[in-house]
Subunit: 241 residues, 2 copies
DNA sequence: TCAATAGTGTCTTTGAGACACTATCCG
DNA sequence: CGGATAGTGTCTCAAAGACACTATTGA
């Protein structure tokens, strides 16, 4: 007999659960941090985890990621990008759980954190000092996210998510240095960022101890040409590029 | 009350189905092709689709991809890489289905195709002449796979999957040209591939109409340094790179 | 004036691309 | 020899990196 919409039995196959997890980065005091939540329930009660949760049937994966992130941490209104899907059969003791991981980057100072009934604490951790042992396979997820972040940075505008409306070129350089984990040449950075033509000078300056610094903003109105700035051309993705 | 393994109710959340789909490429007669199966059941009966199917509860995503691919097409023993996870709520009329897509590349001549009870035909299509309308959102999946293939090619060994054990440098260049869809300079190609140090000369030559050509193979024993060759440095991923 | 920070100029090296040249086979 | 294909050498140009230099402030 031919199968149709009427005869299709949706329960024929056993189904896994699907979650979304969001690895969200920021820079605080010049250091790269990741947002983690402290789990208050089994499994992994008392362990830190990346925020996330089960998807609803009527929302897209990205919508689910946004919803979970806001529910668990209060963070909202951010740029999200799909990272990878983790699906080892034993990665969650409850049942078969497949996790679609997302990556994001925000300014810490515009986000107000709060906890939910799922978690008893929400906190930014420096990437160099994460908790010993994370829930589930979240060490893998975070380290994969970190490597993706580093390679993405070179050709996207991700770093700009971390800056206020106006900023100096050396502040932008500093963000790049934090994320890449290495120092960059000042002159070369000035040259490249200016050649890229993505900044627009403002009339503002900021005064400090030495010579005052010019402030810049991103060009609005870039037409439809894609907004891309790569710091370097010569870096490899680890895997999923 | 605290939840534990004993009290956890695995059926509390409604679950989506999860499938894997595999976009598999080859070069036939110098032209890039994709493997498609003709669906014999509702939904999209009579439409071409990328091979794939529902995952089992006890296998990893990649295992599921391999199993489905072999069941539906007979293709096996290949290099697979995760591409992206597609999860729009309405992408499948049966029920909520999330699809984890994989990408692969093989030599057509070593694969024996066969059909299954799911499909009534299995066939290689040139990427320039795909069927009008594919099942589900498979147009999106294929075009995303194609863009990934093109950008990946520059820094992986993917092209080598398409060559026999020994081959000439100009044959390798030809594969690159097919996949990238543009022609490359002979001298520059020789220079780069030799500098990369990933080929090993054999004592073999192949005779043809003109000067005979030296044959090469990939260096075995490359230690643990990663096996990477980029054709160029200056290409962007469209998105997920 | 000096310390401190901002910003510029320039030399060297590297690598991509273009393209002309040489090599070796068959007939 | 000439046609066909394999393979090399070399010039130019652009981008990356190193690093020295100048500029502008406050104390």
């Amino acid at each position: 007999m031919e199968e149709t919409a009427e005869t299709y039995d949706a329960s024929r196959y056993e189904r896994p659960s699907v979650t979304v997890d969001v690895v969200i980065f920021t820079v605080i005091n010049g250091e790269l941090h990741v947002l983690m939540v402290l789990r208050r329930r089994w499994p992994y009660e008392g362990y830190w985890a990346v925020p996330g949760g089960f998807i609803n049937m009527d929302e897209s994966l990205e919508q689910a990621a946004r919803r979970e992130l806001e529910e668990e941490t209060g963070v909202r209104n951010i740029y999200l990008e799909q990272l990878y899907t983790f699906g080892s059969p034993q990665r969650d003791p409850r049942t078969r759980v497949i996790s679609v991981a997302y990556i994001a980057i925000v300014r810490a100072d515009v986000q107000e954190l709060h906890v939910s009934d799922e978690s008893s604490d929400v906190r930014w951790f420096p990437v160099r000092a994460l908790p010993e042992k994370l829930a589930f396979d979240h060490e893998d997820i975070v380290s994969y996210a970190l490597s993706r972040l580093r390679s993405k940075l070179e050709y996207t505008t991700l770093a700009f998510q971390l800056l206020p409306e106006v900023f100096s070129i050396l502040e932008l350089k500093h963000i790049y240095e934090q994320i890449l984990g290495e120092s960059l040449d000042k002159g070369n950075f000035y040259r490249k960022i200016k050649e890229a033509g993505i900044l627009e000078e403002t009339s503002m300056v900021r005064e400090g101890r030495g010579r005052p610094t010019r402030l810049w903003r991103f060009k609005r109105d870039r037409g439809d040409k894609q907004f891309v700035f790569r710091w370097r051309e010569d870096r490899l993705d680890d895997e999923n590029g």
